[in-house]
């Protein structure tokens, strides 16, 4: 049952990531991987909030493992960082890593803390 929930959540999360990336590339160009940063920060905020909620195992598989899991990505983050550094944009590669660590982990903390406080 939980496997089916993971599949359903990811079937939505992965294409949302793809479309967000396309749209941000169209608006801001390809000089910096804004799309991957955006989905990773938003997905970490969402998963942090979900973890503070009393969810059933099915909902947790659907929204947490499936949706947030597939909305966010590590492989693209790693590859884009390597490519930035290869094409001579070492500064941007470093900014990408620091932004992911600060904003990504920070938003997970905000999600957990705020949702936890709201629930008392």
């Amino acid at each position: 049952m939980s496997a089916l929930m993971v599949v359903l959540g990811a079937a939505v999360g992965a294409p949302v990531r793809f479309l967000v990336d396309l749209e941000l590339k169209r608006r801001f160009g390809e000089g910096f991987p804004w799309g991957t940063l955006a989905v990773n920060v938003v997905g970490s905020l969402a998963l942090g909030s979900l973890l503070a909620l009393p969810l059933s195992p099915e909902l947790s598989a659907l929204l947490g493992v499936g949706l947030c899991g597939a909305l966010t990505t590590y492989s693209t983050f790693a590859y884009e960082t390597v490519q930035l550094s290869r094409t001579g944009s070492r500064g941007r590669a470093l900014v990408n890593v620091l932004a992911h660590l600060c904003l990504g982990v920070g938003s997970a903390w905000v999600g957990l803390t705020v949702a936890g406080a709201l629930l008392g």
Binding site: V12, A70, T76, Y79, V97
Partner: protein
């Protein structure tokens, strides 16, 4: 976005969706086989993120040098499968919950080991694949 653009996007969206579902299911299966340690961090997710980064380095070189004409390889295996297989959200929340559980050293090791492992894997796999696939050795300009 115009209607015709939406029409041409639909097969790509469906391909990414199918690949993402398969990738997330693979991650979930590995996580069920090797559940998180008592410390709270999931070394399985670390392994998933590092192996996924290795595979994307290899895939991107294959897409360029072996399958340049195939338009669905990258959406299915790259954006879809490897994007859904690897995850940033579980990494970020694992770091936070491990910190809050009072194990800052474990959280820091997990944070940096995943990062260094994934970057090294993506870099090494694409460099080696590039070398083999272009026959010459060394990176072409």
């Amino acid at each position: 976005m115009s209607l015709s653009e939406r029409g041409s996007l639909l097969p790509l969206v469906a391909t990414v969706s199918a690949g993402g579902a398969l990738g997330a299911l693979s991650r979930h299966a590995l996580d069920v086989l090797w559940p998180p340690a008592a410390s709270g961090v999931s070394w399985t997710i670390l392994a998933v993120n590092v192996t996924g980064s290795l595979l994307i380095g290899l895939l991107m070189e294959l897409v360029v040098h072996r399958w340049p004409g195939n338009r669905l390889v990258r959406p299915f295996w790259g954006v879809g499968f490897l994007g859904g297989y690897t995850t940033f959200s579980a990494y970020a929340t694992d770091v936070v919950t491990t910190l809050e559980r009072g194990a800052p050293q474990v959280a820091l090791v997990y944070l940096l080991l995943t990062l260094a492992g994934a970057l090294t894997a993506a870099w090494a796999a694409s460099s080696l694949a590039h070398r083999f696939l272009t026959h010459g050795g060394g990176r072409n300009p």
